[in-house]
Amino acid sequence: MAGKISRRSFIKGGLAAAGVIAASSVPLPAAVRGSNQKELATLIDVRKCIGCGACVEACREVNGYKFPEPKKPFPKMYPGRVKVSDWSDKRDVTDRLTPYNWLFIQEATVTIDGKEETFTFPRRCMHCQNPPCADLCPWGAARKLKNGITRIDADVCLGGSKCKVVCPWHIPERQTGVGMYLDILPSFAGNGVMYKCDRCYNRIEKGELPACIEVCPEHVQKIGPRDEILKEAHAIVKEINGYIYGEKENGGTNTIYVSPVPFEELNKAIEKGPGKPHLKPVEDSMAHADNLAKAMMIAPIAGIAAAVGKAYKSAKGEIPWGSSDKGD
């Protein structure tokens, strides 16, 4: 990224530093303050981001105390195929998601009307409206909060990495050698703790903005009630004849991107792989389960109806308990 765009390179460093220094405690917008019960979403305007990395630095600084401090050597893992995930010696990595880097800048160079243009934008957890990581976590370590945040509780997580597997963007990252698994059966169950963006839940609780939003010199991100954020996103999209990502993905997320170029094009241009999520369309991962849940409501009614029907027949024909028409 460095050296490609001189204007950006020039202002990047200065703004990043200034942004982090300014990160004191800018309050949430009045509409959002104290609304821990209301689903909040963030709006990320791809046009505005200059890739300065102030958000990345602020995230690391503000959330640094939550980062893992693993005990070494790690317990020997059984069976041998279980690999440890250790980022503790690579804490400086900022070009992908790691347990020590919950936000990174993704870059896409696309051609619009024959002209090459580079876009940068922050990537982190999408904070889904119905997050499969939280739904399918077997321990209740990953949870969705009423204000739209999906958070992994580091004190409870065993690091099985299921949340990463079921996440359509494979966002959470594991650090071995830390967490509750060490106190249970460290060699046989669990493998650390999963880490990802918690959208500065504790700052929001205090009525402050998430660090990445607060420090951004270009005001790339905005936070507010989801319906209002969506309204604004659609207004921008209409104005610039642009595109939206995150509104319907995985059934809806609380991170809404707007872009002047199709996300399909951006997805082709970004570097994808471990710790570097895609921008593909995503179907609702929990849709089938939601439909089955409806059938679950009917099942007891059907069972009771069948028993009542049998009792009625029995009353008429003296069929004993335990018998059936088939005589089994």
């Binding site: 399918l136 209740g140 370590a141 389960a289 849940a293 069972g303 009771i304 009542v308 335990g322 088939k326």
Partner: protein, 207 residues
């Protein structure tokens, strides 16, 4: 303990009670032990004992229902444990034909389908017992323990399903409680099932 009908004079014939053909089991003493029409399992007893193993259940002796219940329960236990990331780690999904067991979404769907089936079956059997069975039979102590465990599994399971619906958010503490207790009740149920199997304790006894 089943109150069977003994008929040592006719050891080789089918004996019918009021309702249907019944099972015949012969002990080593060549005594004839005949159950009533309720499900009797356990086979021939040795050492001259005249006990029969009472595994009667709330399905009123219908073996098919009880076997379906057991099969569904095993499937639920398997897919439930499969919600933990252990099948891949411990080579279960490496067994030919078992690759699906490491697919969390698939095991989750199967678990839901099993839950639908189990809820329907249990509702039927419980209602059937309330309407007809309890006139003649009462629940054993072990049945009450099992019902309590099953109730725990089902109630926490219902809350887990609710949690997975969009727009349903529980507090972090409650989420943790239902997730862990669902597994806890299941483990207890399995433990109790083994204990009661050893104790040969059934679900119901004749009043």
């Amino acid at each position: 303990m089943t109150k069977g009908i003994r008929d040592a004079q006719n050891p080789n014939i089918e004996i019918r009670n009021n309702f249907q053909i019944v099972q015949i089991q012969i002990t080593e003493r060549r005594d004839l032990y005949v159950s009533n029409n309720f499900n009797i399992q356990g086979g021939i007893r040795g050492e001259g004992e005249m006990k029969s193993i009472d595994t009667r259940n709330l399905s009123g002796g219908r073996k098919v229902l009880f076997r379906i219940y057991i099969a569904t329960f095993i499937l639920m236990a398997f897919t439930g444990f499969g919600q933990m990331p252990i099948f891949k780690r411990y080579y279960v999904s490496d067994i030919p034909g078992m690759g699906w067991s490491a697919d969390f979404y698939l095991t989750h769907y199967i678990h839901y389908i099993g839950a639908i089936f189990l809820l329907g079956l249990l509702s039927y059997v419980i209602m059937d017992f309330i309407l007809s069975g309890r006139k003649e039979f009462s629940l054993t102590y072990s049945a009450y323990v099992r019902i309590a465990m099953l109730g725990g599994i089902i109630i926490t399971g219902i809350f887990r399903v609710l949690k997975n619906l969009p727009d349903v958010v529980f507090s972090p503490g409650f989420t943790l409680f239902i997730d862990i207790s669902h597994l806890g009740f299941m483990m207890l149920y399995l433990l109790m099932a083994v204990v009661f199997l050893i104790m040969k304790s059934g679900w119901v006894v004749r009043r």
